[in-house]
Amino acid sequence: MEVWRQIFIHGMNMFNLFIVSYFFIGNGVYTLLMVLSLGSVWLYNRRLAYQGMDEIRESPVTPPVTIIIPAWNEEQIILKTTESILQTDYPELEVVVVDDGSSDRTLERLVKRFQLVKMDLIYRAHIPTREVRGFYMNPDRPNFLVVSKENGGKPDALNVGLNLCRTPYFCTLDADSILENDALLRLMRPVIRSPINTVASGGIVRVLNGCEVRDGRVVNIALPKSRLERFQVVEYLRSFLFGRKIGDLLGGTLIVSGAFAIFHRETVLDVGGFAHDTVTEDMDLIVQIHHWAVKNRRHLTMSFTSDPVCWTECPATLKMLGKQRRRWQMGLCQTLWKHSEMLFNRRYGLVGNFSFPFHLYVEALGAVAEFLGYFMVPLAIIFSMVPATLYLLFVLLSLAYGGLLSVGAVLLEELTYRRYPGYRDLATLLWFALIESIGYRQLVLYYRFEGVVRFLTGFRRWEKVTHVGVAN
């Protein structure tokens, strides 16, 4: 019996050590990211003063772009999205909406609104996809095409769009998103300005909930009413202004949100398009491109910029939030597992030695460590292995630290873009940043833990997050 007790105590000690190390390493890295991001985003914002948007708009060297919108049962929001896209300020733009076998009225609404007619056009499947049922076009709008296909998932719909894309770059956009008028121009700026071939360029995704939308444009930016959505506003700010920016700064981009990103067509075709074996095809594509570049000795770059804005609906209910976060976590685990040979592989430079281990240790395993920590540490107190005071202080430190990171993100927003105009908005954001770690963080952690469990148990299904048109 004594032996088992010793084993238990030893195990608990080891686990507690792991939790503490995770806490300090994870938060240490996050602090570093926060400081670097503060400098980097501030500097980038100052540089915008002389970036010459008019020149990009008018220059013949600005490459044409195709926007690909995969849509599956998006009847509530598809018209809003499409109208917004067709008004986008960009010199040469094509728009392809791929209806992925919707069972609702997504296709009918598009056909009716834009007076489309069914056509039998040529389809060259450079990348194999599910069968295409038909093309819908209005000859008066030659730059707008709707494709109807058999349901095959988001990667398959994106591949159909890719097969139809004729421009050197294409932009993937979620069907529940609204682009700011000049977002595409801003997103293309790093592609045009960079001396190295830029194969992916990501922008910032902001929460649409609560904003007023008129004629496909966000005309009044406001915070959503519900607490759940407000927490997500803070979370998105932290995720995009810190996490993504730093990947860009260090040249170790591992995630570019497919909700709004530009890709180099030839490169994506060379890597075989969007893969079906993970549920986060955007992250998987980026990792595939890193592979391809190393294998073919290509010198290329990826960028993240924080001024091109895409507004998207965030989940308004716990059920939808759970679906979204489980999928993200499961996709992260799948992608990291699929490309595990990159871990500490010096051929992959910063991606293999910083981004990959960071995502594995802090983002993937961190969810497990933190979740179990909430149960194991109290156990350790019960067994008198850790003083209750220490535990309590540690919890307080953890909460305050979570608040610090979120407050830092809100500050960064305030120093740069200030999208939320009122004092009240700022105060609300700061308040939600402070209390995010109490309750909301644990809730998201639970969903992330579920995502890991699903990955481990081989669950593969894509959980659909239904959008209900929450903008005013």
């Binding site: 540089r47 013949p60 039998d120 056009l121 076009m137 830092g408 200030r418």
Partner: protein, 494 residues
């Protein structure tokens, strides 16, 4: 162990307090910042309201220059120059007003400050203002030097300040990529012929030295914006031993020419707008360049040359071994004056590359009814599946199906009927059926179609015939559809 735990408790407690204070500090910065920005925007809004019309009036000539200048000089405060800069640069200038804006900026002392800043010098006025207000000094120190210099270069370009071009050319050599890029852009705004060779030299550097921080697109965009008359400076580059330099130079001239030609169908290149030596290179050397990219980009320029050698050269390039040379040539031939060559162009309808086939179809369609005739002839006469598919694609994309249907209704057994029949054979009937379904009012068209194609085995047409047979209110049409169904049924049984 208890000793260690106590220490750990202390460490965690101190960390907690530090983090808590950190939170308060960041919140404090955020709120203060918001307050400061609010004040700033209130001030700029007030100034805009008061002085914006003055600047606009000076530029349009509605306000006497001296009087307006005096008013603007009346703006006071430590941020006076910042506000003046904003007021001047925010003003949308109509063509021809750039000079007035430049003069105003000069007289207000802004140009001198921008030039000094660009040279990396500290201008006494802003230093004095900064020292007088500690807050301004912090701003000044915090803003990195290259940001100020780049913004100054941008401003000089924005007001088209011609005397600043030598300074901007010097900035092209600055080690900071932002400064190089902004200087190139500012030079393209000013468009002083003296700066063109420096930009060309920069292009060479970007191509030949892989370490250059300036993007090729940025330098190319700058060069393209110059007038075509300056293009002769690119002559040595067109003969450069490096194929990429030749390619870029050709492409820059192509872009310049395309810009000049935009919206002018009668545009030609002759000795009045293109240096004869340059034209000779396009006629004698570039179509035979070893680099296919050069040949491809030369074709559009050749297509504008008023020279008897141009057309044979284009027809030769139309048969080039590289598909993209053929592609660019076909596109270059999409001008009404090449209509007599439609027959030769139509040969590329059976090209092995689909992009060339597609470009050919579009070029021919661009010729209007004569081009469409050519396409129809080819469509009906060829057995080449790929070109037929391509033409069918274009008929649909261009929205020609309704027209074909109405002509079919008018002409009976004309060519349009044969085209529709071929489309039905190819299974390309979705658009046809859409027109028939939507155009319910046009009974004659549907009657004709039922008579001609009611028995077509195409499933979409059959489905439509069934619908008409069951739901149509017009008894004649319904009877025709029913008869077609019976015939079809008999054929099926037979």
């Amino acid at each position: 162990m208890p000793f260690l735990i106590e220490h750990l408790i202390e460490i965690v407690f101190v960390s907690f307090v530090v983090v808590l204070l950190g939170n308060c500090f960041l919140i404090g910065i955020a709120l203060t910042r918001r307050q400061r920005r609010r004040k700033y925007f209130h001030r700029i809004d007030a100034l805009r309201e008061k002085y914006g019309p003055v600047v606009a009036g000076i530029l349009s000539g509605q306000i006497a220059y001296a009087q307006g200048l005096q008013e603007l000089r009346g703006i006071s405060g430590s941020d006076r120059m910042v506000m003046l800069e904003r007021l001047c640069l925010e003003q949308k200038t109509a063509p021809g007003q750039e000079h007035a804006l430049g003069r105003l900026s000069e007289d207000l002392g802004l140009v001198k400050i921008w030039q000094q800043r660009l040279m990396g010098q500290i201008d006494p006025a802003s230093l004095k203002a900064a020292l007088a207000h500690p807050e301004g000094l912090v701003d000044r120190v915090s803003a990195l030097q290259f940001l100020i210099r780049a913004k100054s270069a941008e401003n000089l370009g924005a007001i088209h300040h011609e005397p600043s071009w030598p300074l901007l050319v010097k900035t092209l050599e600055d080690p900071h990529p932002d400064l190089q890029s902004v200087a190139a852009r500012a030079l393209s705004e000013i468009q002083h012929p003296g700066s063109f060779p420096a930009l060309v030299a920069q292009m060479h550097k970007v191509v030949l030295e892989s370490t250059s921080a300036l993007s090729l697109r940025a330098i190319k965009a700058a060069l393209i914006s110059f007038p075509l008359e300056t293009a002769d400076e690119l002559l040595p580059s067109l003969r450069h031993p490096n194929p990429r330099v030749r390619f870029l130079s050709t492409d820059i001239i192509r872009e310049m020419v395309e810009r000049e030609a935009a919206g002018r169908p009668d545009f030609f290149l002759d000795k009045r707008n293109l240096e004869p030596g340059l034209a000779e290179v396009f006629l004698v050397e570039l179509p035979f360049d070893e680099n296919p990219d050069v040949r491809a980009r030369a074709a559009p320029v050749i297509s504008y040359l008023a020279d008897s050698r141009a057309l044979p050269l284009l027809l030769t390039l139309l048969e080039d071994a590289a598909w993209f040379v053929r592609l660019h040539t076909v596109r270059a031939l999409a001008k009404q004056r090449f209509l007599p060559q439609a027959g030769q162009i139509a040969r590329t309808l059976t090209d092995s590359n689909w992009r060339v086939r597609e470009a050919t179809v579009r070029t021919l369609r661009g010729f209007g009814s004569a081009g469409r005739e050519r396409l129809t002839e080819h469509f009906l006469g060829t057995s080449d599946r790929y070109s037929r598919e391509q033409i069918a694609d274009e008929f649909q994309r261009a929205g020609l199906i309704p027209e074909l249907l109405s002509q079919c209704a008018e002409n009976g057994n004309g060519r349009e009927t044969r085209v529709l029949s071929s489309l039905a054979e190819m299974g390309k009937t979705s658009y046809i059926v859409s027109v028939l379904t939507q155009g319910k009012g046009n009974g004659r068209l549907r009657k004709r179609f039922l008579q001609k194609f009611g028995c077509s085995p195409d499933p979409q047409i059959q489905h439509w015939v069934e619908e008409v047979a069951q739901q149509e209110s017009d008894s004649e049409l319904r009877a025709l559809a029913q008869a077609a169904l019976i015939t079809n049924h008999q054929h099926g049984e037979g």
